[in-house]
Amino acid sequence: MIINGNELLRTALVGDVTSPVMGMNPYDVTADGVPFVSVGAGGICYTVRVGDSAGGWAADQVEPGASIANPDPAANEALLLYACVGNRVTVRTGAAAGAAGTVTGKHEAFHAYKHVLVHFDPDVLDALVPGDRLLVHACGRGMRIEDRPEIACHSLGPELWEAWAATGERLRVTRVLAPEVVGMGSGRVSGATSVALQTGADEALDGLRIGDLVAVRDWDATYITGYHEDRVTVGVVSTGDSPVLGNGPATTILLSGPAAAFDFEVDAGANLADLLDLG
C-alpha cells in the first residue's frame, strides 16, 4: 500500500515536558467505590515503557516516557493535531539537549490535560526535567492511502507507516475488538485525541501491551469518534489501564474507514516497540 508521502509537510511544533497536576482533593474513585490517589499521568515516567503491559500498574492511565504539552492552549491544540505517531522529536533545552525521541501517542483527559507522549532511551529520560523544551518534527497530517481514499488517516506518521504497513496487503494488529470496549472518548475530534478501552468489556483485551496496534469494529473515526456499524477504527495503545469506570488504556487513532477497506492480520507482535525499534 502506498501513501501520498511526497505531498506531506514536515513542520516544527514545540512542547514542554509537563509536570503532574492535582486538585485540592486528591481522591478519585475506583469502579468499586474505593478512593485512590491517581498517579502516572504528566511529567516523566521512568518505570513504564512502550512494549510493557498496559495492566498491572498501581497507576491511572500511566503515560510511558515523557509527557509533553505546549503551555499555550491554542498551540497545544495544534501540537495534538499535527504530531503523529512515529515522528522524530529533538530535545532543545536542558541537560538532554540534542537527544532524539519518538512520538508514541496522545492522551486527553476530560476537562483536564491534553498530552503528547514521547519515547526516549532511559539515559535521556534520566536527564530530562519538567520544563525542558522539545521540538516535534511533525509529519502525517493530510496522509492518504492511494487506492483507499475511503480510509481516513489521523495521528499516523510516515515513519510508522513505513515500518508497519507499507509492505504487504494486510494490516497487522494485535486484536480486533467489539465496539462496547470504547469508553471515554466517544464524540471527540479523531485527529487530536485518544479514546479509552474498557478492559472489562472484551476478553480479547487480556494481555494488552502499551504500543499494541488494535482495531475496533463497528466504530468510526473519520471525523469524530462514535459507533457506526460496518466501519473499523485502528489505533495504538498509548497509556496504561485505569481503575476508573468507563476508562482504561488511552488509544490514539491512526486509521478509520469502511470495514470492507481493511484486511487484518492478527499478529501479537504488532507493537510500536518492535516496529519503531524503541530501545
Binding site: 468499586d32 468489556a201 469524530i224 462514535g226 476508562n247
Partner: protein, 287 residues
C-alpha cells in the same frame, strides 16, 4: 408489593441559585455522522416548543435540551448546581415576567434541565434567575445496599411508582432498553455529572434498534452499565436513567442523552416495559 424504603427523612433540602443560560457557539462547523458540516441549535437558553413528553428525534437539533437550561456563570457555583440538583426537584423563577412560576428538574446535561408550564416558557429569557430546591443526593434504598441512587429525588422514586416485588426486586417501568454498545459520550464521567449519550446520530440506527417512539423524559434501562461510581461497562450491572436531551443530526459519539438515576446488579431489578414511563406522568408536569 410495597414501596421501597428510602432514607427520605434524613435528606437535606438546599436552595441553589441558577439562571437561564444563554446559548454560546464556537463560530465553526461541527461534523455530523454523515460527514456533513453542521450548525444546529439545541443547547442552552429556552426551547419553548420541544418539551418533556415530546418525541426525541424529529427535530433539526443537536443535543436538544427541552424547556429551560439552567446554569450559573460562576464555575464553582455551576459545579454545585450540577451535582446537587436532582431529577424531580422543584424550581421557582425569581426574576423577570415569569417570576413565581414553578417548574421541575427533568434532566441534566451541560446544564440542569427544567420544565415549566408553557405560559412561563414563552416568557422566560436567558439571565432570568431561578431557585432550585435541591434534594436527593445521599438518597438510599434502605433494603438494597448495592443499589446506588444518583441525582434522583425521593419525589421521582415515588412518582415512578417503583415497587418491591414479591421476590424482593425493585420493579421499574421503562419504555426502552439500551444495549451497551450504544453508550457513548458520558462514559468515564461522574455518575452525577451531566448524562451519558446513546449514540443515535443516524436515522437508520434509530429505526433498526426500534427507538423511534422514545420521548424526552422517558425512563430507560441501560444494560451492562455500572453507573454507581462513575459510568462504564460492566457485565451484569444495570443502570436506569431519564432521557434528558435529544435531536437528530448530531455529532458522532453523541446522541440521545440519558441522565443516570440509579444503578445496581441486574438481579436486584425487574424491568417492566410500559409506554407511560415518562416524567410528564411521573412528575405530573403542567401543560
Amino acid at each position: 408489593m410495597s414501596a421501597p424504603r428510602l432514607n427520605t427523612d434524613r435528606l437535606v433540602e438546599v436552595g441553589v441559585q441558577a439562571e437561564v443560560a444563554h446559548p454560546s457557539h464556537s463560530g465553526t462547523y461541527s461534523v455530523d455522522s454523515y460527514g456533513r458540516p453542521i450548525i444546529l441549535p439545541g443547547m442552552a437558553g429556552v426551547v419553548a416548543n420541544a418539551r418533556v413528553g415530546d418525541l426525541v428525534f424529529p427535530w433539526a437539533a443537536d443535543h436538544l435540551e427541552p424547556g429551560v437550561s439552567a446554569g450559573n456563570p460562576q464555575r464553582d457555583r455551576y459545579q454545585a448546581l450540577q451535582f446537587l440538583a436532582c431529577v424531580g426537584n422543584v424550581v421557582r423563577v425569581l426574576s423577570g415576567p415569569a417570576a413565581g412560576a414553578e417548574g421541575r428538574v427533568t434532566g441534566k446535561h451541560a446544564f440542569v434541565l427544567v420544565d415549566f408550564p408553557q405560559e412561563a416558557l414563552d416568557m422566560l429569557a436567558p439571565g432570568d434567575t431561578l431557585l432550585v430546591r435541591a434534594v436527593g443526593q445521599g438518597l438510599r434504598f434502605l433494603d438494597f445496599e448495592d443499589v446506588a441512587a444518583r441525582s434522583c429525588s425521593p419525589a421521582l422514586v415515588e412518582g415512578m411508582g417503583v415497587e418491591v416485588s414479591a421476590d424482593g426486586r425493585l420493579q421499574v417501568d421503562v419504555t426502552a432498553e439500551v444495549p451497551a454498545f450504544m453508550m457513548g459520550a458520558g462514559l468515564g464521567m461522574s455518575s452525577e455529572w451531566a448524562n451519558c449519550d446513546v449514540m443515535f446520530t443516524r436515522r437508520e440506527v434509530v429505526e433498526r434498534l426500534g427507538f423511534g417512539d422514545v420521548r424526552l423524559g422517558d425512563v430507560v434501562a441501560m444494560h451492562d452499565q455500572d453507573h454507581r461510581y462513575g459510568r462504564g461497562y460492566r457485565a451484569g450491572m444495570l443502570a436506569f436513567g431519564v432521557v434528558a436531551h435529544g435531536g437528530y443530526g448530531g455529532v458522532p459519539g453523541h446522541g440521545m442523552g440519558v441522565a443516570t438515576i440509579f444503578s445496581g446488579p441486574r438481579e436486584r431489578f425487574e424491568i417492566v416495559r410500559s409506554p407511560d414511563a415518562n416524567l410528564r406522568n411521573h412528575l405530573e408536569l403542567a401543560a
